[in-house]
Amino acid sequence: MSLATEKETRPFWTIARRDAAAGYLFIAPQLIGIVIFVLIPLGLVFWYSLHEWNVLANSFNYVGAANYQMLLADPSLPQVLTASAIFSAGLVVLNLSLALLLAVLLDQKLKGIVVFRTLFFSPVVVSLVAWTIVWSFLLQNNGGINGMLSAFGIEGPNWLRTPTTAMISVVVVQVFKNVGLNMILFLAALQGVPKELYEAARVDGAGAFKQFRRITLPLISPTILLTSIITIVGSLQVFAQIAVLTQGGPGMSTTVLVYYLYQQAFQFHFFGYGSTLSILLFVIVAVLTFAQWQLRKRVVFYEN
């Protein structure tokens, strides 16, 4: 009855309602996918984290918050979190600055620039296995890099066997592999900057560096935000390279959180505790991303 009265005053399918229905229809496939393939599995992982689950012994016992207490008391955790923070920070800074440098270079009007673009991008499609093996080779104490350094009379460090250089090495190897993606994003952003702005600045007497700082950087700031989110999130998920290059060593200096999680769950068979670490990883990534997303309002030039 109430429906009928409403119908008399205005049609049920107002533009706003029709729009809302269309909106839900449009996002339905994505949203249902996220519920089934992300939220439900995530809920299950949380459920596992409340259990002591030894896969081989087939024991699955409810232990409440015991895994979370274990997490707080885990003597390795501070080291692991520190290693993760250093790894991610190093990766993001190096990756973004190198990507930007390459993008600026590749944005120049030069013959054969396509060849260079392709070559800088090529590691992205090379098999990770082949990539890591070659680098583990080059980084040996008697490897190609130290060989090259000795030609200049420098005695290189034992890259993968010293805590500091091991961390540098895994960061650099990862950067070279994937910087091509960010480079392309930056290149695209640079090409989207209106050229008139540079001309106007030149008329005003601004030098190349000033142009870059005053015009380029602000205008590509949304891209910087996007790439830094992707890169941070990606950096927290790197473990295959670490497994091959250092196995988390020497000591625990390169054991980052996702590698530690992988060890606990898949190598040591502690699925319950591994799930607890997964939840921790998830919370960290979510907080970081949220913080960056909030930051955009202040730092990023404009978004609409």
Partner: protein, 423 residues
């Protein structure tokens, strides 16, 4: 709840896998067994399929599928399958995870079934070989590969350095670790090549050092596995000697140095005999294969193993155990011996082994392979080995620097691994 789920999914898998994998006919009792393996080698698969075909003659309803999983991801994938409620019926098991699997109750007991199989001759399988895979007198996995550690020698490099070749030392009864290190040092001092490499050790897989420290009578933990023995005298002496060989003498390449014996870059390497396949064919050097030298405790041997087991409490466990009995009976063991050194005493003779190891001389087979398998102890293993391995590796890293205080490092290793062992 967990068990019903497992049962339901097991039944589900039993129905679906045959359909998906081979399209077997809908016979009521059609059984498809899955065996996960870490070799994707064609020759291996051909041999296993041949054995499976032989089994089908007496069990026409049974099909066996072999599923190769990359070695690096083997345990991860197997664990995921088990955790997901879809374990294979049979699986190869790494020696490092042997204790975990054998003690977990995940595997079906084999001894009674094997003993009841006609012509199986369980007595023939040597006791040393089965020790790792046995709990409370029951065998839980069959060691299908028992491969001794030995030393490959590059005689060209040794001669060029003016050092005494191991064969000569053996002939004179002087094949000891001291002389082996001396030979290695002599070659390394020449600067053209390195001395001795423990293959696959890489300053990470420390358990491979057992091929040396067993000569000192050292062991990483007590017999019952409960207490750390890294601080015991034999281990401290053995590791001090190894440290000296690496950093003071340069007889062994240091950490972070990539040297390949089979590319002709080192005088000697400790590895399993199966690695003979890596010897260069185009540009060969004069090589030899010799047993491990004598240590302070005298002669000793070390073997590495791989086992195969059947998962318990599965709908087809019984058939899987029957297949395992068939696969490892005397006749099929001989087939397996083409690739995997056997644990059966009756196959441990130069004639049988020569047919399948054409690269090795009768003498090498006798002194290295047969003696090694008959007397060798297996590499150290422990329940929860992966975590223990990782903890020890992390602790030992402090030792692989020139001025390390070996006893102090070993004390810290025991401090960190002790609680894990005591569990």
């Amino acid at each position: 709840m967990k068990l019903t789920y497992l049962k339901a999914s097991a039944a589900l898998a039993g129905i679906l896998v045959p359909l998906a994998a081979s399209g077997v006919t809908w016979a009521q009792d059609a059984v498809n067994l899955r065996m996960t393996i870490w070799s994707a080698n064609e020759a291996h698969l051909a041999m296993f399929n041949e054995i499976a075909a032989g089994f089908k003659e007496t069990h026409p309803n049974v099909t066996v599928t072999f599923e190769p999983i990359p070695f690096e991801n083997y345990t991860t994938t197997l664990t995921t399958q088990i955790a997901g409620g879809n374990p294979p019926d049979l699986a190869w098991i790494l020696e490092t995870t042997a204790a975990d699997f054998v003690n977990s109750g995940a595997l079906a007991p084999l001894t009674d079934a094997f003993a009841a199989t006609e012509g199986y001759d369980l007595e023939d399988v040597t006791e040393q070989a089965t020790a790792l895979w046995t709990r409370d007198g029951q065998l839980y996995a069959y060691p299908f590969s028992t491969s001794p550690f030995a030393i490959f020698v590059n005689n060209d490099l040794v001669t060029a350095a003016g050092a005494t070749a191991p064969a000569e030392l053996i002939a004179n009864g002087e094949w000891t670790w001291e002389n082996a290190f001396a030979t290695a040092k002599a070659v390394a001092d020449g600067g053209q090549a390195d001395g001795l490499i423990v293959r696959d050790f890489n300053y990470q897989t420390w358990q491979n050092l057992a091929s040396i420290w067993n000569g000192w009578g050292a062991s990483p933990w007590s017999e019952d596995g409960k207490t750390c023995a890294f601080t015991d005298a034999p281990m401290v002496e053995a590791l001090t000697r190894i440290h000296e060989a690496i950093f003071a003498e340069g007889a062994m390449p240091g950490p972070g140095e990539n040297v390949d014996f089979f590319a002709g870059n080192a005088a000697m390497t400790i590895t399993q005999i199966s690695r003979a396949s890596l010897l260069p064919k185009d540009d060969p050097f004069d090589w030899d294969l010799v047993p491990l030298p004598e240590g302070p405790i005298g002669a000793y041997a070390v073997v590495g193993q791989a086992g195969v087991g059947a998962f318990a409490n599965r709908p087809n466990t019984q058939v899987a155990v029957e297949f395992l009995a068939y696969m490892t009976n005397p006749e099929n063991s001989q087939k397996l011996a083409q690739f995997f050194p056997p644990a059966r005493a009756s196959l441990l003779n130069a004639d049988t082994l020569a047919a399948t190891n054409p690269l090795l001389s009768a003498e090498q087979l006798e002194t290295v392979v047969i003696a090694g398998i008959s007397t060798g102890t297996v590499l150290p293993g422990h329940t929860n080995f992966a975590q223990i391995q990782q903890t020890v590796r992390s602790g030992l890293d402090a030792m692989w620097v020139p001025d390390a205080d070996v006893p102090a490092v070993l004390q810290s290793v025991c401090d960190s691994v002790g609680p894990l062992l005591a569990r």
